[in-house]
Symmetry: C2
Subunit: 552 residues, 2 copies
């Protein structure tokens, strides 16, 4: 009997870009196809996606994509994987509604087969049988997956928390999980995002009292910013606004889109007349309106940044306004959020942050949630997923020290590009591939070559020199070389540096042997090296040198 192969393409050792291949025999399913948010933004890179080249060797094995839920770090790369591998997609109604919207924008809807499944369903995809376990999270209609294979059952938790009292939908389906646990689980692939956090993650309900207080005490206008996908939170804000006699106006495209889809599907229940548009909102008194806005992470294109720094559709933050930041700080956004808060204070706003009031709870399992997950499913092996290595490690450490029966042998740490073979007798990494993530160019939304990004980094670091020389048929220089500088440091325009550079090149060429000029490749390379040394000596700079040889 074969072993199961687990092949993570993303999300292990990093936040976001979650994607994993699971193979048995000659069939492979892909769980999630998420996008990531790399640090390469200064280089015109907007997002990253998993390196789907890597799946080419499995092309004939691929049978389906399963999406655990609708967050961008789980579905954001779907259009890219589907363009290369036309696979059927399985997920919940709401997750599919979000993906349909996106695929429709790319004109891809006609070519894609979307299968709607519900919590509790059990479906067969070739050799795999998959059960969809209702999972609680900050989003709705999320799944943990039980993936049954002839070599045993895997549980893939997706993103989850054990929420006994979610605002929308039911608690995490521990009963179903327990039943599958009783039947025997080979491995648990378990979300590590909050594995460093002790205790239980508070229920989505936990923020209601703070919001009630805020709505009760606030006299001016209220602006609440949260993730547009945090549907429980949106429901609470609509409910509390209604309770305290405020209308709600939604600002920011992603928030409007999500509210629309969620209401269409009956997930968000908005009392008739509570949600109003901007012109109606502006006609109301300050204590009658709550704006629900995008931009809690200080994103410069989102509504809140514009409200704080200039105007958003004619609206701006003013003295007396109250701004509630109902979201955590995603690592990497600290500085932009801090800057945005500075702008809000300058405008005279009162700011309520999660540090000071309970206006946000996490959507991810803390340590005691993880304990419940492990103790309910009782897997033979635990494989921490979703998180930087630090979180994966801390999940291992926690389970090892706090759940009986687990140790270094049955908690397995893997990395992106690893191939983990697993069956009843053991789990071991049998191959390690180095996967460069695929960067997406911000202008074209197309994949951008890794090498191109490297070139941009070099240009960014030292600028560029364009050197043009003209040679005649006798391999002699004709006229003066042309030198142009872009982003090169320490050029004093007054001291005739360009002239000096031109002279230096002319002299260097005069010293070269004709056969070394005749060999154009060698000639160009020698010019490049000469210019590089000249610039480094004169300016202590290391620009990229681009040489062009014109022949006349």
């Amino acid at each position: 009997m074969s072993k199961i192969e687990i092949v993570p393409l993303g999300g292990i050792g990093e936040f976001g870009m979650n994607c994993m291949g699971i193979r048995y025999g000659d069939e492979m399913i892909v769980v999630d196809a998420g996008m990531g948010f790399p640090e390469e933004t200064p280089f015109g890179v907007d997002i990253s996606i998993p390196n789907f080249d890597f799946l080419e060797e499995y092309r004939d094995n691929l049978t389906a994509i399963i999406l655990t839920h609708g967050h961008e770090d789980h579905i954001g790369a779907l259009s890219y994987i589907l363009r290369r591998f036309n696979l059927p997609v399985y997920s919940s109604r709401f997750t599919l509604a979000l993906t349909e919207k996106r695929l429709g924008e790319y004109g891809m809807l006609d070519d894609v087969l979307l299968h709607r499944v519900s919590a509790g369903d059990r479906i067969k995809i070739g050799v795999f049988e998959i059960e969809f376990i209702h999972a609680s999270h900050s989003l709705v209609e999320c799944f943990s997956l039980a993936i049954h294979t002839p070599a045993g059952t895997l549980i893939h938790t997706g993103d989850y928390k054990i929420d006994d009292t979610p605002v929308i939908g039911k608690p995490y389906d521990l009963e179903m999980l327990g039943r599958i646990g009783d039947e025997g689980v080979l491995a648990l692939l378990c979300d590590s995002t909050n594995a460093t956090v002790p205790g239980r993650t508070p229920s989505e309900m936990a923020v209601i009292p703070a919001f009630q207080e805020i709505f009760e005490q606030t006299e001016g206008r209220l602006f609440v910013s949260t993730f547009s996908s945090s549907l429980h939170r949106l429901q609470i804000i609509f409910d509390v606004a209604h309770e305290y006699g405020r209308k709600v106006c939604v600002l920011g495209r992603s928030m409007q889109k999500n509210v629309e889809i969620a209401e269409e599907h009956g997930l968000l229940k908005i009392t008739h007349g509570t949600m109003i548009d901007l012109s109606a909102a502006r006609a109301l008194d300050d204590d009658e309106i709550c704006y629900l806005v995008t931009g809690s992470q200080g994103e410069m294109r989102a509504a809140l940044w514009n409200l704080a720094t200039s105007t958003y559709k004619g609206l701006e933050i003013e003295k007396g306004d109250t701004v509630v930041l109902s979201a955590r700080i995603i690592p990497g956004n600290e500085k932009s959020i801090s800057r945005m808060i500075g702008h809000l204070y300058k405008r005279g706003a009162n700011i309520i942050e999660e540090k000071r009031r309970l206006v946000h709870v996490s959507g991810h399992a803390s340590q005691e949630d993880i304990r419940i997950m492990v103790e309910t499913s009782r897997p033979k092996f635990v494989v921490p997923i979703h998180g930087e290595y630090r979180m994966l490690f801390r999940q291992k450490e926690f389970i090892k020290n706090h759940v009986a029966g687990y140790n270094d042998d049955n908690i397995v740490l893997i990395e992106n590009g690893n191939v983990l073979e697993i069956d009843q007798y053991g789990a071991s990494v049998v191959a390690e591939h180095e996967l460069h993530k695929t960067f997406i160019d911000e202008e074209s939304s197309e994949a951008i070559e890794f090498e191109t990004v490297r070139e941009r980094k070099r240009l960014a670091y030292g600028g560029a020199v364009s050197l043009v020389v003209t040679v005649d048929k006798s391999h002699k220089l004709t006229g003066e070389p042309h030198v142009t500088f872009q982003g090169v440091a320490n050029i004093d325009p007054l001291n005739g540096f360009s002239a000096k550079a031109r002279e230096s090149v002319s002299k260097a060429v005069a010293d070269m042997r004709p056969e070394h000029i005749a060999d154009r490749k060698m000639f160009k390379e020698n010019l490049r090296i000469h210019m590089k040394r000249f610039v480094q000596k004169e300016l202590a700079s290391k620009p990229v040198i681009v040489t062009t040889v014109v022949e006349v």
Copy 2:
């Protein structure tokens, strides 16, 4: 009688780069000349310094530079300001020792007049009389300044905390501060770094129990990473190491330098034989050694990063090692620290972070320290300094709500480049200058033009196209254009894009009127625009276009 003019060049609305001009009549002193750590590092920018161009208009007024203490964000730009304005420098023995080291490296020592002052001193610099108040902070020999002028007395706190039991030196000199307060203080310029933190900042002593426990319980090798300037912390580590029978080996240049200077000046008291070099350290058993290392912020050039990811002078982190991160996370460093921790875990190290054990305390005043500062000095006005706008604002809010007698009128928020006029009758901003910070090029350590950094950003974002065309005397194209791409996205090398680009340019030139080619400036600009549109249409890219016209 004149008013005092307060002119901040840095440190207001930002972390770091602290520098302030204080003028009375036709005399101006400068308090601190610090460096900043801008986000422009991808563009070859290492550090930033205040825009000293701005001081040119005060050139004839400048009389002295006073340094409150020796942290880089207060002294790091000293060599740059001294090269332009040869002013005498006043500070403590230890601060001067740190600056001497740096100025010596630049060969500037002979030209600079350094005046050593001690806590309690009162000196006269022209119209100003300055008293140096002993301040407690994470560093030693720090000052708050009382700056007496005919229009009243300013207190500049520098960086401080009210530490009643520092490890090295005396507590904050509240007696002196109180005496000056009794004499009357016009304005308090007060550190805001920790103005969002409730309560008192714990004493430097507070970390001793945690370190004693760690040294007692650890069996393997110990690595402690902290800021190399945190002398109290270093003293504690040397003491506790000695107490528990470990030797200390210092790794990393800045740490070695600071330990050397501090020991030379009798500030750091190291029991004979406790500090050993690397080769002696390697000969010891694991439980006999503590390495004191740089790199708590995940800096890729520092000792700890190298220990974690490869080797540092033949040494590397191994299974069984314990690493103590005895420092806070400076905003902006979250990701690199998290990555470093991941590497440490992978190597099998045990990691102790300040989040989980009391192995770090701040050097800055929390809210209750600020209250003590205000209540002891009883200034007419408070001007929050040192911090992002958010912290300045929160200091104002705290004092307004928690210290009697202060309100919107006598707590004054200013920004870099403002000119604040102040006397007994009022305080108001009379001018607002926009100050671009000065970037320092990483390769040359020289100032790099703001415009050059902008060019680099454009290159980084879209890459560059070099276009070369050759025209003859009749303004006709000779030969084919040359096109070179660097960092341009979406070029498929197989589809002959370069040929297409060349053709397109040839055709465009053929369509131009000879007089438009004869006007070389117009010709180049038209070529640039043509190429820009072509690339944008074909590739959806926005590179920088560099055009060269060769004449034959």
